[in-house]
Assembly symmetry: C2
Homo-oligomer: 337 residues x 2
DNA sequence: TTGTATGCGTTATCAG
DNA sequence: CTGATAACGCATACAA
């Protein structure tokens, strides 16, 4: 019960395989009548062309590869979704792989992508900015366009669109000062290039807004218990702390919960800011002020660029999408105190 | 700068292409020495086999297809993640497509999957239980194993593992009664087979726990504003309502926010239950009692089944994963009132 | 142990 | 307008 081939169609229609091929691909130079006949046979036999064979002869897989560390990190799924939809529209399939955070594994996945002869690749996340990944791209994907969402690698075939994390977080500090907070801290879940930029932005802001202060920065881990623990420790060891910027909304949400359970008022006693402006920011109580780093716009830009490259248009190699600070209740207090 | 082929390797190593092929595939009958020489050339030329060509000759794409309505619905990404990882381990690539909710589109995507000659398919979500999808499977994927996560279609090559939504929601009603709530309502975001089962479970529960009561059920839409509106309307039109079960956690979270803004106490005046036991349930304030329908376990079971089928083992055609009710603060009141 | 020839399903290049 | 024929890159039966 294998799939029917153009030869069987050809036989059924009393023509040659080439004619069938021409009909399938809407090529000119086929008599109306025969075309109609072939079309009928195609329909009747439920023919659907073998893309594998097509890919072989056309030297084109009509597939793009999407690499992501872990697609369960929700703030990236919007991007994948968008990219998949756009490329689907153009007849491309999307091979999606979760690489994890180990660079050697990633190199392996990049090789796999090459074996599938993908025509372009999207790497999602700043953590793909590493030497091993760079080497792997040079070795396995040197000729196809590669775009990094929220990152950049300096190679001829690599494009990047990055978020304005540093500037965005710096503006978070501005906001905190405007609201009367005096002792801000910054907490990241893990060490990533992206989080590093956020830390830098935070330090920039603190040094500018509170020149006498040493920026207080911590790395917590991603588990709920770790974050709760870190928050508790933070307020024990630095009781003067009156505001925290978190590298991701969920962390901020957990912080709000934790403080609430300790009887600490947000935003009255402590101001909290998250990053990504995700759904969680809306449903927090108090709702969460969050830095929207425009991850979706970023993916949109990435997809557009990639499509442009594939269609031979000139494309900016590296660009930045500006972020936007969305104020909500978690920083809403008078600048009085 | 095309990719190097086995012929070029053959030439470089001074052997024939078939020998190279044998080495690559670790087939027996190659002299140690030549094998070593070939291996060196392979390494040196950065050879990586063209999976497209392999697929053509082997009649196997080494790809599975994953169809999902919208991967932004977070409670499904865990499943995709797991499935991708398991199949990756076996050397399979995952072609992932977001189909949307239109059945005709889905049929189209199923055809696309066939063109790529995927070796198995995973359909994620109860909404794939439709006649058009069934027809499409019969027509385009009649011979490869297809598994539906949280659904089932009666076809020889289709397997299904479903969640115990009906029983689970019925137990939610039990819990509410035990906690002293008397006027429960149920709200779903949209009409899906899965939500339908939940509604039925709710009705079962109400009829058993409160025989004199007519079950109160509403469909709200998925947007935040729609849900807020529905909640407000619910308590206007049915002021006696003292508890609500929502088809998804985020809806419940929004409800908690909305009630809080109206000065209605949860769980004191109103009990709230969500479904999926997602991250949101933990960070709600009050934290959210939620029915864990074991979506991850469900995906695990689905992946296992699919792998078993592919490896020729016998597999249960249809199975159910039991749900688990996780009590948190949003229903935590004494049964007094 | 190795090489030759053939085919996988399709498209493209020629002739006719 | 249509039909042979040769690729595409690899694997395999068969010969040597």
């Amino acid at each position: 019960m294998k799939n029917v081939t153009i030869y069987e169609i050809a036989e059924a229609a009393g023509v040659s395989a080439s004619t069938v091929s021409r009909v399938i691909n809407n090529k000119p130079g086929v008599k109306k009548a025969t075309k109609k006949r072939v079309l009928e046979c195609l329909e009747e036999h439920h023919f659907s062309p073998n893309e594998t064979a097509r890919g072989l002869v056309n030297q084109s897989s009509k597939m793009i590869g999407i690499l992501i560390s872990d697609m369960r990190t929700t703030h990236h799924t919007d991007g994948i979704y968008y990219i998949q939809r756009e490329f689907s529209r153009l007849g491309y399939g999307c091979l999606i792989m979760n690489t994890g955070y180990d660079d050697a594994d990633r190199a392996h996945y990049i090789q796999l992508m090459n074996q599938r002869r993908i025509e372009a690749a999207v790497l999602i996340g700043s953590t793909f900015q590493s030497d091993l990944v760079k080497d792997a791209i040079e070795q396995y994907l040197p000729k196809i366009p590669v775009i990094i969402a929220n990152g950049y690698i300096d190679l001829p075939n690599v494009y990047g669109v990055i978020a304005d994390e540093r500037g965005g977080v710096e503006r978070c500090v501005d906001l905190l000062r405007r609201k009367g907070y005096r002792y801000p801290a910054f907490a990241a879940n893990r060490e990533t290039p992206s989080n590093h930029l956020k830390m830098q932005g935070f330090c920039d802001g603190v040094r500018r807004c509170f020149p006498d202060r040493e920026p207080l920065v911590l790395v917590t881990g991603s588990e709920q218990a770790e974050i709760e623990g870190a928050v508790n420790r933070l307020f024990e060891e630095h009781p003067q702390t009156d505001s925290v910027v978190f590298s991701e909304d969920p962390m901020a949400a957990i912080c709000i919960r934790t403080l609430h359970d300790c009887g600490i008022d947000v935003p009255g006693q402590v101001g909290v800011i998250g990053i990504n402006n995700s759904f969680i920011a809306e449903i927090c109580n108090p709702s969460l002020t969050s830095l929207d780093n425009m991850l979706l716009d970023l993916s949109v830009a990435a997809a557009r660029s990639l499509i442009d490259v594939l269609q031979g248009r000139h494309v900016v190699k590296k660009m930045m999408v500006y972020s936007r600070l969305v104020e909500r209740e978690s920083t809403q207090r008078d600048a009085s105190e």
